[in-house]
């Protein structure tokens, strides 16, 4: 970032301690009793010069600039662990950290290259991968079941399935999308997708990556697209999209009934169970994603689905449910692996798969599209490729297709 251009100075000067502490949530920050639970539970708390506790202490002293010129917040993976543990109920991950992170990014001389590219891609193409927006629905061709694309066939639908970027483009995400489509089809759900009119929900660009302007733009686009079609509810397979819709689209009038695919299928277990015929005969451990777990408390739904699969033995990692360790992909972390490595920090995905390996499980299951390639990469790095990583929906389809 330029230090001297007038535009930069203007944007920086808008942020003041007063404006932060004016909001009710901001005022709540003043009730912090400096217990340090946040710093202790933060997965990168050990390498941050300014973990949440110290950010608050420094802000209260009025020495904001020291916090904002430190790069500590680049290590915030928006995992909501600090927020979940705060005895004062300060909504750190929703209010304080995104605001501070935005200002940190504005002051950063250089944004780490991969993160910058992801942000630019989101603006130019509506996805961080930098793929053609005209090919967002290409995966449908090999879905194996019919997937209706609303712009081509705009009849009203029960479920508007928001596929999200990884699900539409990432080779591993596409496999999960195919499994999701098969489950919708098997349950005879009336569903359709937005196809090429869908754009990144933007959760990763929000406070999480410190780029609220980009988030606003993506949100405006998606809200306008939702307005064009008739549907009863939005069901998304993107844990981060779910998080964005639930917690950050409300400000602009998002009023649609919203579900994530994992609880959606869990609610239909009576209908699903008779279809699960094949014994998978494996030991599975489940990783709670930050958005679905800590931020939305869907702890039992995925486990209920896994237990319904014949021959699945569910085992738990030492950190599970509210204590789950982030895969390191949130808050822009998905594009900061090289940066973390260059700083000598342990990759969180590697820390997490070590816990999974310790359970003796054959399969590491998850419900968030970021995690699957992250964990697969971590297993390769650790040379433990006997373990496979599967989305819960993929295991269900495997048991269904026996």
């Amino acid at each position: 970032m330029s230090q001297s251009s007038p535009a930069t100075l203007q944007a920086e000067s808008e942020f003041t301690l007063e404006s932060l502490f004016e909001s009710p949530e901001g005022r709540k920050i003043l009730t912090c009793m400096q217990c340090g639970m946040c710093a202790a539970t933060c997965p990168y708390g050990d390498v941050m010069e300014f973990p949440p506790r110290r950010i608050i202490a420094t802000l209260r002293e009025g020495d904001m600039e020291r916090v904002l010129t430190s790069s500590s917040l680049l290590n915030c993976v928006a995992c909501y662990a600090c927020m979940a543990k705060c005895p004062r109920g300060i909504r750190l991950g929703e209010v304080l950290l995104p605001v501070v992170k935005e200002q940190v990014l504005l002051r950063l001389k250089d944004i780490p290259a991969e993160l910058q590219k992801a942000l630019q891609n989101m603006l130019a193409y509506g996805n961080p991968e930098g793929m053609s927006p005209r090919k967002r629905a290409d995966w449908v061709k090999d879905a194996g079941v019919p997937v209706r694309i609303l712009p081509e066939d705009p009849r009203p639908t029960d479920v508007l399935w928001f596929v999200e970027c990884h699900g539409a483009y990432h080779p591993r995400g596409v496999e999960t999308s195919r499994a999701t489509a098969k489950l919708f089809d098997a349950l005879e759900v009336d569903f359709a997708i937005l196809g090429n009119e869908e754009r990144c929900a933007g959760e990763c660009s929000r406070g999480a990556e410190g780029e609220p302007g980009l988030f606003d733009l993506l949100r405006e686009h998606n809200m306008a697209t939702f307005g064009k079609y008739s549907f009863k509810r939005i069901v998304t397979s993107g844990a981060h999209a779910y998080d964005a819709f639930r917690f950050s689209y409300g400000d602009v009038g998002f009023h649609y009934p919203l579900e994530h695919t994992t609880p959606f299928f869990s609610d239909r277990l009576d209908q699903l169970t008779p279809l699960l015929k094949k014994e998978l005969n494996c030991k599975v451990t489940y990783h709670d994603s930050c958005c679905l777990g800590r931020h939305s408390s869907f702890y039992e739904e995925p486990r209920r689905l896994l237990r319904a699969i014949p021959g699945v033995e569910l085992v738990e990692m030492c950190h599970n449910r509210v204590n789950s360790i982030c895969c390191g992909g949130g808050g822009g972390g998905n594009w900061l692996d090289t940066y973390y490595k260059s700083k000598g920090y342990e990759r969180l995905s590697e820390r997490r798969v070590k816990e999974a390996i310790a359970t003796g499980a054959d399969v590491l299951a998850s419900s968030c599209p970021y995690e699957i390639p992250r964990f697969e990469d971590a297993l390769k790095v650790l040379g433990h490729e006997e373990m496979v990583v599967r989305d819960v929906t993929e295991l269900l389809v495997e048991a269904m297709e026996g």
Binding site: S2, P6, A7, A11, D110, M131, L217
Partner: protein
């Protein structure tokens, strides 16, 4: 120090390129245009020079689809003026573009004086990198291409430019200003412009319009484009497998069959 950066929109190859029905160009309805990456680097170098020496950065471009987005982004990053030349036709050749830009620069007083003219050393639709040298020759200014670093002396009358040369060599040149430089890379990655700033620039800044001088006037002669086509798939690689002896034998057979041995 007054720096002019010539920007150009090029087809975005993230999208499939399709040919127009007449086969002499790309289907302009299907093409999506983005700022040429090397021009973005030229802009970055200009902004770095401005940060060091003060002065003004003006971006200048021939009208093209989606150009306004690129011009507003340049303003949001720190450019002082954005000027769009209209009426030069759709997708002009590099020679035509250089002619129009040269005439505009000579005639338009508000664009004078200028100490440095920077542009990308090439573009994906101008791999010969002709724009900068043509422009320099039309304006009677010195030109250096494949420049990776620029420093300017205090009086802004001379610049030192580092140029990439074959075999990994780098050469440093002293050049009198004003000069035209074809930029290969800036000293750092082009900066990120937060969308909030971009949108603020779209609201508060304006793009100045300049009409292109009438065509034909002292135009450089351009070769005529007869046909454009996608490369045809021609045969496949054949892998020779087996032991060293077997592979050598097969290789000799192939070479002698083709009369090469």
């Amino acid at each position: 120090m007054d720096i002019l950066v010539v920007l150009k929109m090029v087809p975005d190859i993230v999208e499939e390129l399709t040919l127009a029905a007449d086969g002499t160009g790309l289907d302009r309805d299907q093409v999506r245009m983005i700022l040429s990456e090397l021009d973005d680097r030229a802009l970055e170098e200009a902004l770095l020079l401005k940060e060091r020496h003060g002065g003004n950065v003006t971006v200048l471009a021939l009208d093209a689809p989606d150009l306004d987005d690129a011009l507003f982004a340049a303003l949001a990053k720190g450019a002082d003026r954005a000027v769009k030349v209209t009426g030069a036709g759709e997708g002009p050749s590099t020679r035509r573009a250089a002619t129009v830009l040269g005439q505009v620069l000579e005639r338009e007083e508000s664009l004078q004086p200028v100490d440095l003219i920077l542009t990308g050393v090439q573009a994906i639709d101008d791999l010969d990198g002709l724009l900068a040298p043509l422009l320099a020759s039309l304006l009677g200014l010195p030109f250096l291409g494949v420049v990776i670093q620029v420093s300017v002396d205090g009086s802004a009358r001379k610049a030192m430019a580092t140029k990439e040369c074959p075999n990994g060599f780098q050469a440093r040149f002293e050049v009198d200003l004003p000069a035209v430089l074809g930029i290969q890379s800036a000293e750092k990655t082009p900066r990120y412009v937060p969308v909030g700033k971009l949108r603020a620039a779209m609201k508060s800044r304006t793009i100045e319009l300049l009409p292109a001088p009438p065509a034909g006037e002292a135009a450089l002669v351009a070769p005529e484009l007869l046909e454009m086509k996608k490369p045809e798939e021609a045969g496949h690689a054949e892998f020779l497998e087996g032991s060293l002896e077997e592979v050598s034998e097969k290789l000799c057979e192939i070479l002698s069959d083709r009369g090469l041995m």
